[in-house]
């Protein structure tokens, strides 16, 4: 027999209470992330790189595109801290400017693929009819080595920042979708989801508020490592000449130039390679610290 709780005079339960234990847990992981030296160093390094890329090109006395035939392949000096390239352009300014492209692609792809991935994962977990086809499609997408799938898409779409974002998003979506689907399936079978269903909350509300709230920590973790692999993939595409248009400075295309002039200008390859490695290192450090913070049992294994 169904009892209408509200009309029976029982005060409506504060639905927020259902989420609260999670909120407490979240405060817990923030605390233990802060306590992690590795995590804080990673975060500091990331902040430094992002700040340098945003502010650097503005403060620089040089323009990333301005050619100076007199100063071709000049070694690092007071006026060009990281030297100049084969056209006499300032390597430091180009490196920081290239970082903007890299960070923009990483931010856009991570956001797009998390949102679409989470949506696909949630509807697959909720509706059995969509589950099969969607998952088979994503399985097949995952069978392609990601660099190769991105190359094929870029060859078809042509070089532009929008196309790089589209291609890398398509590569990244399946991972997030599977992740959200599996944690959503776990959450779906818990007693408090049963309770939420009894309380007759509307389905979209259910999905977003409870399933997603509880998939949050693995999703944040995956997004951190995901951003790192997007940055790596973008650099690889640009390095192979299948990424952003060659008119835009990118770390990948700078590395490609650098390899050509390896004998007479080592700074050309070392500068973009080093900042790319530092950015990946910072994201990996943050990811490792987050993993420990979310799952204290895994600490120090």
């Amino acid at each position: 027999m169904a009892v209408d709780l509200t009309s029976a005079g029982v005060p409506e339960p504060d639905t927020h209470d259902l989420v609260r234990p999670r909120a407490r847990l979240r405060a817990g992981w923030v605390g233990s992330f802060r306590a992690s030296t590795r995590g804080m160093i990673g975060l500091g390094l990331l902040a430094l790189i992002v700040l340098a890329c945003l502010v650097g090109p503005v403060l620089s006395a040089h323009d990333p595109q301005v050619v100076d035939p007199v100063a071709r392949l000049a070694p690092p000096s007071g006026s060009h801290w990281l030297g100049t390239d084969q056209f006499g352009r300032d390597v430091l300014t180009r490196m920081l400017d290239g970082g903007r492209a890299s960070l923009l692609v990483a931010a856009a792809v991570t956001t797009i693929s998390v949102v679409i991935g989470a949506f696909l994962g949630l509807i697959s977990a909720m509706y059995a009819k969509v589950d099969g086809p969607v998952m088979r499609f994503l399985d097949a997408l995952m069978a392609f080595p990601s660099v190769l799938l991105a190359i094929a898409l870029m060859a078809r779409l042509g070089p532009s920042i929008g196309n790089v974002i589209a291609a890398l998003s398509l590569v990244a979506i399946p991972g997030f979708a599977r992740l959200v689907r599996s944690s959503a399936l776990v959450v779906k079978s818990t007693p408090y989801m049963e309770l939420a269903r009894v309380l007759d909350l509307r389905l979209p509300t259910l999905m977003v508020r409870y399933l997603l709230a509880n998939s949050m920590s693995p999703l944040i973790l995956a997004a951190t490592f995901g951003a790192a692999s997007v940055i790596l993939a973008e650099a690889a595409l640009s390095f192979l000449g299948a990424g952003l248009p060659t008119s835009v400075p990118t770390w990948g295309s700078m590395l490609n130039d650098g390899q050509t002039y390896l004998r007479n200008a080592w700074w050309l390859a070392v500068a973009p390679g080093a900042i790319l490695s530092l950015l990946l290192l910072s994201l990996n450090m943050i990811g490792d610290a987050l993993r420990d913070a979310f799952d204290p049992r895994s600490e120090r294994i």
Partner: protein
Amino acid sequence: MAGFVGRRLLTLIPVLLMVALITFGILHFTPGDPTIAILGIDATIEQREELRAALGLDRGVVEQFLNWAGGLLRLDFGQSLYLRVPVGEAMLRYLEPTALLAVYSLVVALLVGIPAGVISGVRRGGLIDRLVMGMTVAINAVPNFFLGILVIMFFSVQLGLLPTGGYVSPTEDFLGHVRAMILPSAVLGISLTSFARIIRSSVLDVMSAEYVETAYSKGLSRPQVVIKHVLRNAAIPSVTVIGISFGNLLGGAVVTEYVFNLQGIGQLLVESIARRDYPVIQAGVLLSALLFCLVTLLVDVIYAYLDPRVRYGR
């Protein structure tokens, strides 16, 4: 066991169909006219019509897909638009460097990664453990193409010990082949060894299991326990991770061939991007996905062999 393999093979069919459909879709279901994408915006209408006919784009989509997929079953991947030879023939011509690079780097990865993972797991917190953990952090941070440039800079430009790039066939000049392949195989192999970390944590898991304590308490020595009990059990999750890194091997080979200028299939694919030689790219992507599916199948079979529970489970 045979039943397990059979069932697993059946699950491969829908995935392969979907893989073929996606590969087909990259050319046909993406925005923009594919003939303009291939010929460029300046092409005349006649040129575009000719290409449309050559690619079969003038027929219905379903018919095109069936023709193309039917060709695949007969190992016919179409004509290369640039090389003017069948794609399969072009692939075979470029196969040797890629196949050898893959084998060598897999050997390097396994020879370095497995012992590193096992030793750091068994001697947790020791010098080797800290060294290996530091290495995996570095490997995850430094992209293999940058690592490649660094080793060329050091070993080839500075020391002049090894060639900066280029492929030498072992049948022509064996020593030259070895010299040409040392750096690329080492770079690609090392970049795959991040699985050492997973092996280490599965070794750690097994080391704290009760049956390992039992083995110690019945008087077995440490090497005996490690070899007989720990390794076999830790191998089960490790196989999966090593299988997954095979996917990275295929993607990594493309970039490594490019860095070291090895004329392999990866190099062919990269050159085909600029040439807009779409059938070649399509075949390359399709074959790599197919190879990956087969490796995953192999991993599952090994898994089932190592762990009988998988064989009888659903």
